[in-house]
């Protein structure tokens, strides 16, 4: 018998496969499992049915075209060639293309429903209700038995002892599950006691979680007036429920964490709030006190007489000025009066007449005379002396020729 090396064996078998026309281009239906995407872009997974499994590889050049859809649990029709990877002696499919196996395919139905509801705006971020910071009552729709409700209660007890939880037991799998959850949502909304609702279920296969991809349930979640947190399966499981809910929790325990704050945090916050308020008010009071003190020591309040003292001085000052100015005016006036009186005295015609002068008046013209021209011959004149009048008649007039004054009547 001929002895050959492993390499020779593997290459021989590989060549056998490659020479088979049936294997060079085949389509195989099965469900994807253990899918791994590598940095290089190549995708490795197993294709399996109920009994058997085969390794598959999809190189990057092919993977970018149709490999994006590939996901664990997805039923597909994979097309490519079957051969032996000689290095490992491993039989595998080199896949060029994968297509979703349309008939009854859960994944396709999921995608379609998701697209439809998304288009309707059911998942819009604007429609999401805010999860309350501290709910008075937490409504839970879940199975009353099993780890899920226990996990939730454990987390709530740890985070916020003193919580209030109301459980509505629901079916979380199979026929009637969606209906029982829809009914629970209605009860919670009618009672208006819970401030937040958690819909929770533990991990399971895509089929197990299928009831959470129910369109009516998604709509019931969307119209719930109470905010809904969905916690379905594990972190990697996504259901329509998760998209419709106001908040998706990766696990039921996480949902409990999202539903209540940590009580220690609140206690600390309350404490610091009280401190801060005390500090602020004390500061305000100190400040106000200081301001008041400043006002009290200001000169006007402490010595109010300043106000009138100043005024008083001003008034007396004014009075003095008025008095002195009036006095000055009076003195002036008196002096002027004296002066005028003196002047008047010296001009008094009576005094002049006493000294031997006379005033002559022409009776015809009625005028006092200054010159001989004021009298015509025959005019009657009145000569006014200090002790009486002489009435006479003008006989003639003579013009002065010398420096000596000469008068005639």
């Amino acid at each position: 018998m001929t002895v050959i090396t492993v390499s020779q064996l593997n290459r021989y078998v590989a060549a056998l496969f490659d020479s088979d026309r049936n294997l060079s281009n085949i389509s195989v239906s099965g469900e994807i499992s253990s899918l791994k995407r590598y940095q290089s872009g190549h995708i490795y997974f197993n294709l399996k049915d109920n009994e058997c499994s085969v390794s598959c590889v999809m190189f990057r050049s092919k993977a970018v075209l149709s490999g994006v859809l590939a996901e664990d649990g997805l039923k597909v029709i994979a097309t490519g060639r079957a051969s032996l990877y000689d290095r490992d002696g491993k039989f595998q499919l080199y896949i060029n293309e994968i297509k979703s196996d349309g008939k009854g395919d859960l994944y396709a139905a999921f995608e379609e429903l998701k697209r439809k509801l998304e288009k309707e705006g059911l998942f819009d971020a604007s429609k999401k209700r805010k999860i309350p910071y501290l709910p008075r009552k937490i409504g839970v729709a879940s199975s009353p038995s099993g780890a899920v409700i226990r996990d939730i209660i454990n987390v709530l007890t740890r985070r916020f002892p003193g919580f209030d939880l109301q459980l509505i037991p629901v079916k979380v799998q199979g026929d009637g599950a969606a209906d029982s959850i829809i009914k629970a949502l209605k009860i919670f909304n009618n009672r208006k006691e819970a401030d937040v609702i958690i819909i929770a279920r533990g991990g399971g296969s895509m089929e197990d979680l299928w009831c959470f991809n129910d369109e009516r349930l998604a709509r019931a979640i969307a119209v719930s007036e109470i905010p809904v947190i969905s916690a379905i399966g594990h972190e990697t499981d996504f259901t329509i429920c998760d998209f419709a809910a106001d908040l998706r929790a990766p696990t039921p325990s996480a949902a409990a964490e999202l539903a209540v704050p940590n009580r220690t945090d609140i206690t600390e916050l309350l404490f610091s709030s009280k401190n801060s308020m005390n500090l602020s008010l004390t500061r305000k009071l100190e400040y106000s006190k200081l301001r008041l003190q400043n006002i009290l020591v200001s000169s006007i309040i402490s010595k109010p007489e300043i106000i009138w003292k100043e005024r008083k001085e001003l008034i007396s000052n004014h009075t003095d000025r008025i008095t002195s100015s009036v006095e000055r005016k009076l003195n002036d006036f008196k002096k002027r009066l004296d002066l005028a009186t003196g002047a008047l005295e010296s001009l008094n015609p009576v005094k002049v007449i006493r000294r031997g002068y006379a005033i002559v008046r022409n009776n015809n013209s009625g005028k006092q005379m200054n010159s001989i021209a004021d009298a015509l011959v025959g005019d009657k004149l009145t000569i006014k002396l200090f002790d009486g009048n002489i009435i006479c008649t003008t006989d003639s007039t003579e013009i002065n020729t010398g420096v000596n004054d000469s008068r005639s009547c």
Binding site: R150, I153, T157, F163, D164, L167, S273, M277, S280, K284
Partner: protein, 65 residues
């Protein structure tokens, strides 16, 4: 809690009058005490709503923890 936080920040700003400050401080302290009371309720309540003969019934729920 949000209201409380608002009050704290208003007080910290310090641009209120003394009367306003005292008023808001009193309100804040009341609120803080109310919150403290609420969160210090040590007793958790766990109940279950079930339907019996068409009527909703609330019973204490005992989860085996």
């Amino acid at each position: 809690m949000r209201l409380l936080e608002e009050i704290v920040s208003k007080l910290e700003k310090g641009d209120l009058t003394l009367e306003e400050s005292i008023e808001i401080y009193t309100e804040g302290m009341k609120l803080a005490s109310f919150c403290s009371e609420k969160i210090n309720e040590a007793e958790s309540r766990i109940t279950m709503l079930t339907e019996r003969n068409g009527e909703t019934e609330e019973t204490v729920f005992n989860a085996e923890i």
